[in-house]
């Protein structure tokens, strides 16, 4: 080996210690081959690519702080009397779970900080995943070859929701207990097996004495274990696929332009972990979260007003709040549609966005790999769908907080509920139409800029008195960037007769696909990008700019 030889000659047969350790590891793990392909791995630079990092780092922070919390938390529902240092609850009966959470918050130095970091990091983790997922959606980063990674990410978001829910239910406080009761009511509504599911989940009637211990093993072992696996898979695929990049000079579908992992991204991404952790620690220092001592221990006959789940569960809360209370009784049975329909729509809201990449790839029929990101305006139908979905989600969030909207803005709760009932159907449609038009407007603007240059703000008076604004031509980099996107042609239904002139049966799916394709890429759905001929005709003409 030439490297070994050269270093040997330098150090008189003795390689530096680091190299010897690396040699040892390479002989057993093959790290040099791994490093060859990854040490100088190129990552493109864009602020939105940090969103996924926020998720990864908050996930690590959650695991670190979570392990610390398990050292003090007792996942038990045995009733004990409180004798800790928080005076207002002295002598109260509470579960050991609540008692130990009080202990962590008041008697373990730094325990409150770690609890608050854990909870804040969980909120940021979920928020980060939501925004990251939207970034991937709106830039079309989910297209081939990344569909599987999109699903990994989606599963992480869903599992994160349930890990969060089982986590904030653990202290067995009045607020979270109310949330668990809500879940029990929802499970009971399932036709035929609902009561059985509920009894198996709670070890009998609600609340029983089991659910904290059961939620605990789900929260600290089952779900995080699956999530850790998915995170690792997600990252391996990111590295394997190489990161996507936006169109620009020198950037093609066959290359990746950016800075190398060692040293730039090692420092930037590694540093960013500390930035995220630092900010979350500071938030946990100044902003109290889930103050269980002010809510008190759970009792099924007590409740506080303004009860809200953590934000990521809010849309399911909205579903349950605005649904009319339909119940159908027949043959001694009850179909609790008022609760069961929201329970069914809850996963469908999430699935709607999860399956989108597959719908789009079916409509385009495009089997190529895509590594250049779309600007949202250049995929108006996709962007409009995404905005419609977010609108849907937000409408449900409003529904989930209808009492808070009512008290904070002095509105009628009935009016808000009715607004949400209507907006559930109408708002996404309006959002879709408006977004599509905005996208088309922005496409027109890009075309205008390419053909006529950018507005310089300089007003010129011509000899005959006319005022014009001077337009500056774009640089070639900009011209290329603004025209680099691809535009699909709407798919055609093949000829109605086959090569023998016999009438061909056209399948329904084929017609649907052609219709969708027309909606995606027809005349109404995209502005044809400027052609070279158009550009030449305009620029070669009268040279007044």
């Amino acid at each position: 080996m030439s490297t070994t030889e050269s270093s040997e000659s330098r150090a008189r047969g003795k390689a530096p210690a680091g190299e010897r350790v690396a040699d040892w590891a390479d002989g057993r793990l093959g790290i040099y081959s791994l490093a060859k392909s990854n040490m100088r791995k190129i990552f493109p630079d864009h602020w939105s690519f940090m969103l996924g990092e926020v998720c990864l780092y908050s996930f690590i922070i959650i695991i670190l702080t979570g392990v610390y919390l398990t050292l003090f938390f007792h996942p038990s529902m045995n009733e004990v009397e409180y004798h800790g240092s928080y005076v207002p609850l002295q002598g109260q009966l509470m579960s050991e779970a609540f008692n130990s959470t009080m202990h962590i918050s008041f008697d373990v130095r730094g325990g409150l900080l770690i609890r608050q970091i854990h909870h804040w990091a969980a909120l940021i983790f979920l928020a980060g995943m939501f925004v990251h997922m939207m970034r991937v959606f709106f830039t079309g980063a989910f297209r081939k070859p990344r569909e599987v990674n999109w699903l990994f990410g989606f599963l992480l978001f869903v599992l994160g929701m349930f890990t969060g829910f089982t986590g904030y239910s653990l202290p067995d406080d009045l607020l979270s207990g109310t949330g668990v009761r809500f879940m029990e009511g929802a499970v009971l509504s399932v036709p035929i097996v609902g009561t059985y599911l509920s009894f198996f989940l709670f070890g009998g009637e609600f609340p029983g004495g089991d659910f904290v211990a059961r939620f605990y093993s789900i929260h600290v072992l089952l779900l995080p274990g699956i999530m850790l696996g998915l995170v690792v898979g997600h990252l391996i695929l990111v590295i394997y696929h190489k990161h996507t990049q936006f169109a620009g000079p020198g950037k093609t579908n066959n290359n990746v332009v950016g800075m190398p992992l060692l040293p730039v991204y090692m420092a930037k991404a590694g540093g960013f972990f500390f930035l995220v952790f630092g900010v979350i620690a500071a938030i946990a220092a100044i902003a109290s979260i889930n103050p269980i001592w002010s809510m008190g221990p759970y009792r099924p006959d007590q409740v506080s007003t303004g009860a809200q789940p953590d934000w990521y569960m809010g849309f399911s809360e909205g579903l349950i709040r605005v649904m009319p209370g339909w119940e159908i009784n027949f043959w001694g049975h009850t179909l609790v549609l008022g609760v069961f329909i929201p329970l069914v729509i809850f996963p469908l809201v999430l699935v709607a966005i999860a399956v989108y990449p597959f719908v789009e790839s079916w409509v385009t029929g495009d089997k190529r790999e895509h590594h250049i990101l779309d600007r949202p305006r250049n995929a108006p139908t996709r962007t409009a769908f995404g905005v419609a979905w977010i609108t849907w989600y937000m409408v449900l969030l409003i529904g989930g907080g209808n009492d808070l909207w009512a008290t904070h803005f002095h509105l009628s709760i009935n009016a808000i509920t009715w607004f949400v009932r209507v907006a559930f159907f109408v708002a996404p449609v309006l959002a879709f139409v408006a977004t599509k038009r905005i996208c088309l407007g922005l496409q027109r603007r890009d075309k205008e800029k390419v053909l006529h240059g950018r507005e310089s703000g300089i007003i010129k008076r011509l000899p005959h008195g006319e005022f014009i604004e001077v337009h500056e031509p774009l640089s070639q980099e900009q011209l290329h960037t603004l025209t680099a996107h691809e535009q699909y042609e709407p798919a055609q239904i093949g000829p109605a007769v086959d090569e023998n002139g016999v009438e061909r049966k056209i399948k329904g799916t084929e017609k649907l696909r052609a219709k969708l394709s027309e909606a995606y890429y027809g005349d109404e759905a995209q502005i044809p990008k400027p052609t070279v001929e158009e550009y030449k005709e305009i620029t070669s003409g009268h040279g007044h700019h």
Partner: protein, 351 residues
């Protein structure tokens, strides 16, 4: 950040410089001009600026070290129950505040130092790397398919159907053991959801005072919460029993009671309703004296207690169950039986 953001590239002088690099030709004005040339940062040219950056990074790392020392000092020095006033947050726990901020600063400074180092002193020249198709080339695919066929053939799985079928059977059956094992997660529901602790003769006990209630204790316009006599907080099954038995007691002028059965089951206008919402089981706790409406604070189901507790707004599907009450020999309110229908959320077997 990157050089392509700089609009000065539009200047004629810059354009000339680019002409040499780019592939701009007469045929395609939109052609990719290739990576723009690297622009030097001040640190690349001026060693003094680079040294300033070095000092900044070192300072940030030093701040982090000091902050960690501050964290340890706070941990040791600040009593854990000390409260301080911090504008504009208010009174907060001093130890939490000090620990959080010192830890936050210690971490943030490391991050800021590393990022500043990367941005000012490490190379910022963009590098292009090739991509390769994810899918395997045809010859690799052909080799894999051939290997698979060979392996499948050698296993004789396709030829020896008996092995195949019994194997599928065994693999399909064994998970059943796991499902069966889940059976003892809980008892079967039976009719447990149909019954509560209430039975004839049980006195109504005020939850707050733990004293049995007399009719005179219940004033018009008040809302009283009650539990069955004999159910104490220390009882093993207290939580599970109160989750079904919790009562809400109000007094309404008998003339104002619109529902005939409600009047019949009341005592001098005192009516007892289940406190557990029929939607998803939240305890109802908001009472409007004038209208006799109660509102569940969780999902805003609203019930009219003067009219059989029927639902007048919100997501609940049916009225609150009423408990038939009377007065015993000692003049205390007592139940005249259990609820006639299941309390709480509806379920399949409810009917």
């Amino acid at each position: 950040m990157s050089s392509q953001d700089i609009p000065e590239e539009n200047l004629p002088a810059e354009q000339d410089a680019h002409g040499a690099v780019g592939v701009a030709d007469e045929k395609d004005p939109f052609a990719d001009p290739g990576l723009p040339p690297h622009e030097h940062r001040v640190q690349d040219i001026d060693e003094r600026a680079a040294r300033r950056s070095e000092r900044t990074v070192a300072m940030l790392f030093t701040v982090s070290m000091l902050s960690t020392i501050g964290f340890i000092a706070s941990y040791v020095g600040i009593p854990h129950d000390k409260s301080i006033f911090v504008f504009p947050i208010g009174h907060i726990n001093a130890l939490n505040f000090a620990l959080g901020l010192t830890l936050g600063l210690a971490l943030f400074a490391i991050g800021a130092g590393a990022v500043h180092w990367a941005r000012t002193l490490m190379s910022d020249e963009e590098i292009a790397d090739e991509r390769h198709p994810i899918e395997a080339p045809p010859e690799v695919k052909a080799k894999v398919m051939a290997d698979f066929k060979q392996g499948a053939k050698e296993s004789a799985l396709g030829r020896r159907k008996l092995i195949r079928n019994t194997m599928f059977g065994a693999l399909a059956l064994f998970p059943l053991s796991g499902v069966v094992l889940l059976r003892d997660l809980g008892p079967l529901p039976g009719t447990k959801l149909r019954h509560t602790m209430w039975r004839k003769g049980l006195q109504l006990v005020n939850v707050n005072t733990n004293e049995p209630l007399r009719p005179s204790d219940v004033a018009v316009g008040s809302l009283t919460f009650a539990k069955p006599e004999g159910l104490e907080e220390h009882d093993e099954e207290f939580q599970t029993e109160i989750a079904k038995a919790a009562l809400m007691i109000v007094r309404i002028q008998p003339d104002n009671i619109k529902d005939k059965r409600e009047l019949e089951w009341s005592y001098e206008g005192i009516v007892a309703y289940s406190k557990i919402c029929t939607h998803v089981g939240c305890p109802i706790s908001l009472y409007e004296q004038q209208t006799h409406h109660v509102l569940c604070p969780c999902h805003q189901s609203t019930f009219d207690l003067s009219d059989g507790a029927r639902v007048i707004f919100g997501p609940a599907g049916h009225a609150l169950p009423q408990l038939r009450i009377g007065v015993n020999d000692q003049g205390y309110l007592e139940a005249l039986g259990d609820f006639e229908e299941p309390v709480g959320p509806a379920f399949w077997e409810r009917g």
